[in-house]
Every structure is written in structure tokens, then in C-alpha cells.
Assembly symmetry: C2
Homo-oligomer: 336 residues x 2
DNA sequence: TTGTAAGCGTTATCAA
DNA sequence: TTGATAACGCTTACAA
């Protein structure tokens, strides 16, 4: 048996194609008994609407596109987390997830014109480029951005709160008795790292003396931590704007013969799957990227008169073993 | 100006739609001058064929699907590597990459029927399930499997050589003077880990006494390495069937107070981005998964009378610092 | 509330 | 070598 089409259903139910179409799309203006008859025919024939037919007629395909920057190397495994979240939210919807690299606006335009996804999700650092969301708007493609902080247009963005996360982490270290906390900043242009730095400064009350510049990489974290550990009095804790840099700090501590966490606490903003494999297992703030992406998909799929916003997205403290109380010795040293 | 359609081109060039279609698709049987006229019209109008129209008429969309197992946790970052390779090979083709979770054959069938991708790539461990490739064949969807070793049907598979990789790694350790090498095996059902174990056994000449069972996880690697390190005489090197387990072995060595690589060499089969962040930086065999996936895409896109096969895919030895010569002490101990 | 009919942009068949 | 013309399966004005 060849696949049933809308025509077959219409014929069997004794109605027009339009009626079938309305029933399938759950639109109202169809009498209850007619609807029942059509549904019966649909079930009898095992009718499944053709996605290609739909795409052709409606001008939009059954896909959601996840746009990522292929340049920005994905140190924190954001892409897989985002994919997992999106797939979870799309499960059973019949939609497919397109994962698309986007760099120039021109190539994004070609993509949107050609593939016509039903909606688009902009991952950082793409989410920080207004050209791209403007382009989506211009093309009539619904768009949600995943951003590290609330900014301009609140309807088109799922925002985390990396600033808060960084403050919380700093607060946690402060509560552990650390009075001198070094911070390893990320790349200047990285919005996530920037928010994290702001949060750190917030929590420390503007004491920026202990900030060393990194670029997100392990090597830069190592170098920055070396600098911080030469300070005197030496910081008793280091907070890094990214996990790779925190791993670098762990390496610097080892180099300097400093036991972690006894002589130095190290903590990462952003968590990675292998954080627990480092030595010692790295404490981190975990951002709910997967949940955020799932929320983005849901918002894309929701009817236009959607419920305003979803719950806030806060990072979670994952205390492993690289952080601990400031040692009595160093506290005494510092205050005495 | 609304987008130009094939009709506009046909009208402007004074030919039929079919002729335009033939020119666009590069099919022959069109007179040179006619072709030139059509191409001129195409350029003048900036005509770009509609992917939805094509999909509708031809029954296949402008997408390649990358199928992965959402259950199997992706410890080695295979998915991102595969995505990168596929996107590289698809760049500029106008095709999009769909990343789709596949578990049951039924859900794959629904996906293929609904989305109608032009081709499908089966990532491990999916590639080991004959049902899935059979289903693709049945549905007429071209399919390439990414497999750890050559097996049955050579046309539908891009095979690496994990067995060889494991042998090479063992050979490398042997050449460093290690006479007792422990092996941490991966999960029983994991084809990649299984090949690696076979390769190890190959190289060691059937001495399976030093194999401890793991399951791919860090914790299992830690436990297995503990067992191996209790053996006497103790192995001077440990090879693990996966990076997470090798990280576990590093942790076990630290626990036991064994310096790596002086007292114990540790090596991973399979490389990960953060291998260099471990302490000491973990030596590994790096499999060219990204290149393999790119090759799979190319083969999917190649005309049916494709060139038979591409170059073999061999893993590359990445010697970092966790491996070194067997110490004189332990060699003496062993032979004396 | 429902039916009729006109697209949407290709590809493909069949003649010429 | 080329031209008409008919699908393909759906959505949606417009009519009734």
C-alpha cells in the first residue's frame, strides 16, 4: 500500500481536503461530528501528513536550527549540551534538529532562505551579534538567543545569569574564609567570560587588584595563575572564568608545590564532564545550558500568544574537592 | 522583487521549464547555445532553485543526517568531532546537517519517512546494529556507517582501525622497554573497546593475564587500575581502552604513590581535548573520527559510480608525558 | 460550517 | 534536442 495522502482521507471521509487539513492542524471551525469522521478516516488509513508537502505549501520545514560559531572552539562542551537539550524538547514532535555553523551574516541568510527552518537558536558567542537576530527577524524566522545575561529584547532571549553565578562562587569562597581571591579572566570579547568577571568584581566590592588576564585556554590559565601565585600576600583561592583555565590553575598550584585545597582553593566558573577527573576534582559552577536550550525550543514551538517567560536559569554550585576552607595558617599569616 | 522561480527563467530564456531544470542540474542533452541562454537568464534573475520545491518533487531533502545513540554517553567527544567533520565536508554544498538521536528502529523509520534526508551516517555504537542499516536500505536512503574496524559490507562503511591502533600503542610501550603491560578493557558491548582489546592481545601474543575489566568510565578505570597495581610483579605500564579509564589509571597511580611516567606509564586508546590538562598530560592514540565522518559525507554525495574507497584511517600516536621508558629499576627487578 | 480551486516550484513523462 | 503538461501533497483564499 502506498502511503495515504490527504486526498485519500478526504475521499474516505467524504469531505474536502481543506476540512482534513483543518482537522490535522487542529484548527477550529469544524463541526464535532465532521471532525470525528475525519479522524476516523485518518486512523483507518494510517495517514501521516507529508512533511515535504507541508514545507512546500507553507514555506517552512519541520526543522529547528541550532546555530553555533565554528571558530570559537568549544572548550566547555556547550554544543553537545545544547544539542541534548534541544533534542529532549523536540522528542516526539516530528521535528528534526539542524546543527549549522554560522559565521558571516551572508551565509546565514543563504541558510535561512534555502533550508527555511521553523525556528533558530543562536548559541554564544553568536547570540551576542545583533546582526544575526536582526537577519532572522527580517527573514521572518523566529529566533531565540541563548545568552549569559539578560539584555535588550527579553522576548527573543533565554538568559542565564553568569554574573550571579560568579558572585555566588566568590561568595562561597569568601564564606570559606578566603580573604584574598585571585580571578583569572577570559578573553576580552567573550561575553560569558565578561559577565563572570563582572560578577566577581561585584562580589569583591571592586577590588580588581587580583585579576589576571587569560584567554579561556588551559595554557593561559596556567600562566595567569603563576602570576597570581607570585603575589604577596599570595591569594588563598583562585576563581577562573572557565574550566580549562581553572585546570591551568591546578597545574600552576602543583608546580608551585601548593596543595589544593589545603594551601589553595581553585574553582571554575562553568562545569565540564571531565572536571571530576582532574586532580583534585575541580569545584565548579554548572550552568544549565541544556535546560536553557530546551526552553528555547519550547518557546519557538509555543503559539505566538505564549506565556511570557520561563523560570530563571541559575547556575548550580558543584563542590568537588578543589575548594575548601582557608587554612588557619594562611588566615593567621594574612591577618597577623 | 520576489524570488525568481524556474518559470521566470524559462520565460526569460524562451525555453521550457524542463530545459531550465536540465541546465540547473547539469544534465546533458541540451545544446550548447540553449544552455548558454538559460545560464544567462539564471544569472540575470539571480535564480536559486527552491530546496522545498526540489524536496517536494524529488522526495528527498537537502540534508544529511548524523545518527547517534543518545543513551551511550559520549565520553570521548565523538559527536562534536563527527559534526565538525561532516560540516567541513558539506560546506558550500547548500546541504544542512541534521543531528538525530536514534534508538529504536521504529523511531528511525519515522524519521526517515518524515524528514527524508539525502543520506544518513551511523555513528558508533549505532553502526554496529545491522537492523538500522538494513532499514536505510529498505527505505532507499543511502547510508554510511562509521565503524571501528572493517566488517561485512565494505561499500557502506568507513572503517577505522582501532585494533591496529591498540597494537601500535602496545608496540610503542614494548619498545620503551615495558615488559609487563596492564590493559583496562572497556564495556563488553562496546565495539570500539572490543577492537582495542583485540589489538592489545594481538601485540602481546595472547598474554591476557594483565587485563582488567572496566566499563569506559573514570571510576571503572580507577578500580581496574587498582587491581592491576596490586599484581606482583607490578605492571610498569597501563594501557586503557578509553581516555576516561586512563584518567582513572592516573588517579590510581597517584593513590599508590607511583610517579607517572617514571614508575608507571599510562596511555589511552582514544584522545580527548582535555588529555593535555591531566597530570601528567596523557599520551594517547588519536583516531581520525572527524576525517572519517567527512569521508562518509563525501561518499554519500558522490555519484553512484563512485571511486571505490578512500585512504585507510589510522590512529595517530600523541605522545604526551604520561608515557616513558621502563625505569632501569623496574626492569632489573623484573629480570633479576 | 464546508467545498472549490488556485497555487507553491520542482521533476518527469510523453510527444514533437 | 526541446516543449507541453501532468503530477507531487499540502495550505489557503474565496465561495457557498
Amino acid at each position: 500500500m502506498a502511503k495515504a495522502t490527504i486526498n485519500d482521507v478526504a475521499r474516505l471521509a467524504g469531505v474536502s481536503k481543506k476540512t482534513v487539513s483543518f482537522v490535522v492542524n487542529g484548527r477550529d471551525g469544524i463541526a464535532a461530528d465532521t471532525r470525528a469522521r475525519v479522524e476516523e478516516a485518518i486512523a483507518a488509513l494510517g495517514f501521516v501528513p507529508s512533511l515535504q508537502g507541508r514545507a512546500f505549501a507553507s514555506g517552512t520545514t519541520a526543522t529547528i536550527a541550532l546555530l553555533h560559531d565554528p571558530q570559537a572552539e568549544d572548550r566547555d562542551g556547550m554544543l553537545v549540551q545544547a544539542i541534548a537539550g534541544a533534542q529532549r524538547a523536540m522528542a516526539g514532535s516530528g521535528l528534526a534538529l539542524v546543527v549549522q555553523p554560522a559565521e558571516a551574516a551572508a551565509s546565514l541568510r543563504d541558510f535561512l532562505e534555502g533550508q527555511r527552518p521553523r525556528g533558530v537558536i543562536l548559541l554564544p558567542p553568536l547570540s551576542a551579534r545583533p546582526v544575526l537576530s536582526a537577519l532572522c527577524r527580517e527573514m521572518g524566522t523566529p529566533c531565540q538567543r541563548i545568552a549569559p545575561a539578560a539584555d535588550g529584547d527579553p522576548t527573543g532571549v533565554i538568559s542565564g545569569n553568569e554574573r550571579q553565578a560568579a558572585s555566588d562562587a566568590a561568595g562561597y569562597l569568601l564564606a570559606l574564609g578566603h580573604a584574598r581571591i585571585g580571578f583569572i579572566a577570559g578573553d576580552e570579547g567573550d561575553a560569558i567570560a565578561h559577565e563572570r568577571e563582572l560578577g566577581f568584581v561585584d562580589a569583591l566590592g571592586g577590588d580588581a587588584g587580583l585579576v589576571a588576564q587569560g584567554d579561556g585556554s588551559f595554557a593561559s590559565g596556567l600562566a595567569a595563575a603563576r602570576l597570581l601565585l607570585e603575589l604577596s600576600p599570595r591569594p588563598t583561592a583562585i576563581l577562573a572564568a572557565g574550566p580549562a583555565m581553572a585546570a591551568g590553575a591546578l597545574a600552576a598550584a602543583r608546580e608551585a608545590g601548593l596543595a589544593v585545597p589545603d594551601a589553595l582553593s581553585v574553582m571554575a566558573l562553568g562545569d565540564v564532564a571531565h572536571a571530576g577527573q582532574l586532580h583534585p576534582p575541580l569545584s565548579a559552577m554548572r550552568s544549565p545550558l541544556s535546560a536553557m536550550t530546551a526552553a528555547a525550543v519550547r518557546r519557538l514551538l509555543a503559539p505566538v500568544d505564549s506565556p511570557p517567560a520561563e523560570a530563571g536559569f541559575y547556575a548550580e554550585l558543584v563542590a568537588r574537592s578543589s575548594s575548601g576552607p582557608a587554612s588557619v595558617a594562611s588566615v593567621r599569616l594574612h591577618s597577623g
